[in-house]
């Protein structure tokens, strides 16, 4: 982490508040993360862990019920939370772009592919229609759409799912952003198409020096694509650090359990190590660590207070009482430390 951060989140929280203000869902709580230029960060979590809310917070595309009560989001040194709506519009799509999960829902069925790929170029760079369409054609070529000129005047329904997702990718990189956020970009794709798309994203990243944030529940994508990993559980980042370090020696019991619960091709028919219980309800979190009720190594402090985030090996950080100085030492069942 010697390089300067492109994006740095400092103690960011995003809460959803009910109309009467009586119920608060802490979707993102006290998250600190950083990503350097050209780096790939994977944010992993189950549904309801806050990973998509975190992505929307970075772009400030949150629904009206959301509040950001605290934190800073430094992008190239400027705090995105201090920007006006007009300034944010010049950031979105231009300096930070996003690819969403469902390519059918992120393309407008009534407009041609050319109009949609050219739109950000015309909006952000004031290009003429002709020059924006020429750029759009090059972009379609870059994402390997065959006969790009003819495709420009077609509509989304004339494309296959894999092609649509590549077009969404082309829109994402159209203004050469510094950071691209991809929210489950391949869940609707078949396996061989997914492999094509991930390789394409990696090539685009190398060619443009893009930083990538992958929001996913799939640890396989993280293993394939990412340098850094942040694991979210119940709105908090419970562990973060270099991907290789975390896969080799996960420090948080949740990460450890998650990694060992996934079937591997080479294991044959060995029994899986399942995680007991259910993911928690964010509006009724237990006191202390949110993972404690499901944690095999939980001990008294875990049920009383939230664990602090402490530094681990190789620039990793972990939020767990077992890793906290003093508190967890000498406790049985803590084999990894």
């Amino acid at each position: 982490m010697s390089t300067r951060a492109l994006l740095e989140l400092q103690n960011l929280s995003t809460h959803y508040v009910s109309a009467k203000g009586t119920r608060v869902v802490r979707a993102v709580e006290d998250v600190s993360l950083r990503i350097a230029a050209g780096e790939t960060l994977g944010i992993v979590g189950e549904s309801g862990s806050g990973k998509s809310t975190l992505a929307l917070s970075i772009l400030r595309l949150l629904p009206p019920a959301a509040r950001i009560p605290s934190g800073r989001m430094l992008f190239e040194g400027e705090d995105l939370l201090q920007k006006s709506d007009a300034e944010m519009r010049r950031v979105r799509g231009k300096r930070i772009a996003m690819i969403l999960q469902d390519p059918m829902a992120s393309l407008n069925p009534l407009f041609t592919i050319g109009d949609q790929v050219a739109e950000p170029i015309r909006v952000h760079e004031g290009a003429t229609r002709a020059s924006a369409w020429a750029r759009a054609r090059d972009l379609l070529k870059a994402v390997r759409i065959p006969s790009p000129q003819a495709r420009l005047s077609q509509h989304p329904h004339e494309m296959s799912g894999g092609m649509r997702q590549r077009i969404v990718g082309a829109i994402g990189i159209s203004c050469e952003p510094r950071l691209l956020i991809a929210d489950e970009p391949t869940t609707s794709l078949d396996l061989t198409i997914q492999a094509q798309y991930l390789n394409l994203l990696r090539e685009l990243q190398r060619a443009h020096g893009l930083a990538l944030i992958f929001i996913t529940h799939n640890l396989g994508i993280v293993a394939k694509m990412c340098d850094q990993l942040a694991v979210m559980y119940a709105g908090r980042v419970v562990e973060q650090g270099p991907v290789r370090q975390i896969f080799k020696a996960p420090a948080h019991p949740y990460t450890r359990a998650l990694l060992s619960s996934i079937p591997r091709m080479s294991d044959g028919r060995q029994r899986l190590t399942a995680i007991d219980g259910q993911p928690p309800d964010l509006s009724a979190l237990p006191p202390g660590c949110a993972f404690a009720p499901r944690c095999p190594s939980a001990f008294a402090p875990c049920r009383e207070a939230e664990p602090p985030e402490v530094a681990g090996v190789a620039n990793s950080r972990v939020r767990c009482w077992l890793a906290a100085p003093g508190a967890g030492r000498g406790n049985a069942g803590n084999g990894a430390l």
Binding site: S47, A223, M265, A274, P279
Partner: protein, 322 residues
């Protein structure tokens, strides 16, 4: 003898092409043969449009085959009378992908699980209640679940309810159509373990369909790989996963995501996408995307033939030619 045998099973659908176009035929399943042994799992893998879901529907009796047939415990299904078919349907049950869609939100869990019993067996209310409690216990849900509604359960618990319902009639074969892909990652292992335990306890056979190759490899004794309506390779699961032979199987397994960042495998990236099943390519259906394509692949469809103890449909392994 295998418990269930499908021989040259085909299902064709008529499809209209465009508003004024003529009609075409989609060969969703085209001459597929496989066997499921008692107490064992057959895994079926393939991408969308390969015909795996249609195959499952044929096995469940939800679709009638256009050609070919299924023999269950030695009896040809086409030759069964109404009573025989009813018995077959009781012996073959299903668990579907999405437990949010497969459970009626207006019914209590007890009634959902009891429904197959109510329609098929003449049980008293007391006997039904006892059966429901036994089934809930089997899938490790508390007895009080019977009086609750599906919305009061999480995804993993709902899938347990769907499994309990599938087991109500003591089936011999359960069709599992992607049973964990809609569940949270931390819940999937629970359900896969439960399915494995139930198989051991009750001697169930499974037809396991999934997108996640590692899950199929984990669950199956034998695996069949489908591409555009045909089985291109089938055989013993571990050997097939370790050394796939058909170029499509090789590409499919090489596209699977790694289980750790250290795992580097040679990646075979397939060109293009799966062609439309309305106009499948001539000869071997995989030939336009195949890296080892030869002249005769274009005109001549290879048949499944035994190669080192497994079945492969590829000219590469069939030097003599047809």
């Amino acid at each position: 003898m295998a418990m269930l045998e499908a021989a040259a099973l085909s299902k064709h659908f008529r499809a209209r092409r465009g508003l004024f176009g003529g009609s075409g035929v989609v060969r969703a399943v085209d001459g597929v043969s496989f066997a499921i042994e008692g107490g064992r799992t057959l895994g079926v893998v393939g991408e969308s449009g390969c015909g795996k879901t249609t195959t499952a529907k044929l096995v469940l009796g939800l679709e009638e085959p256009t050609e070919g047939g299924i023999r269950f415990e030695g009896c040809d299904l086409n030759a069964l009378d109404a009573g025989g078919r009813r018995n077959y349907r009781k012996s073959v049950q299903a668990v579907f992908q999405d437990p949010y869609a497969s459970l009626n939100p207006r019914m209590r869990v007890g009634a959902i699980i009891a429904e197959p019993l109510v329609t098929n067996e003449a049980l008293t209310a007391k006997e039904t209640r006892r059966a429901v409690l036994r089934l809930l216990d089997l899938v490790a849900l508390p007895a009080r679940s019977a009086d609750l509604f599906p919305h009061e359960f999480s995804g993993g618990q709902r899938q347990r309810i769907a499994i309990a319902r599938a087991l109500a009639l003591s089936p011999k074969l359960v069709v599992l159509d992607d049973p964990v892909s809609a569940l949270d990652v931390s819940i999937r292992a629970q359900i896969l373990n439960l399915l494995r335990d139930l198989q051991g306890e009750l001697g169930l056979s499974y037809l396991f369909i999934a997108h996640d190759l590692a899950a199929v490899a984990h669950m199956s004794h034998t695996i069949a790989v489908m591409y555009l309506g045909k089985i291109v390779e089938s055989g013993e699961a571990e050997a097939l996963v370790r050394a796939p032979k058909h170029p499509y199987t090789q590409a499919l397994f090489s596209a699977a995501l790694p289980s750790s960042p250290e795992e580097r495998r040679e990646e075979i990236v397939l060109a293009g996408e799966v062609p439309s099943p309305l106009r499948p390519p001539s000869g071997c259906r995989f030939h336009p995307r195949c890296s080892s394509v030869m002249e005769r692949c274009k005109g001549n469809a290879p048949a499944l033939a035994e190669v080192e103890g497994r079945l492969v449909a590829c000219h590469l392994y069939n030097s003599a030619g047809p």
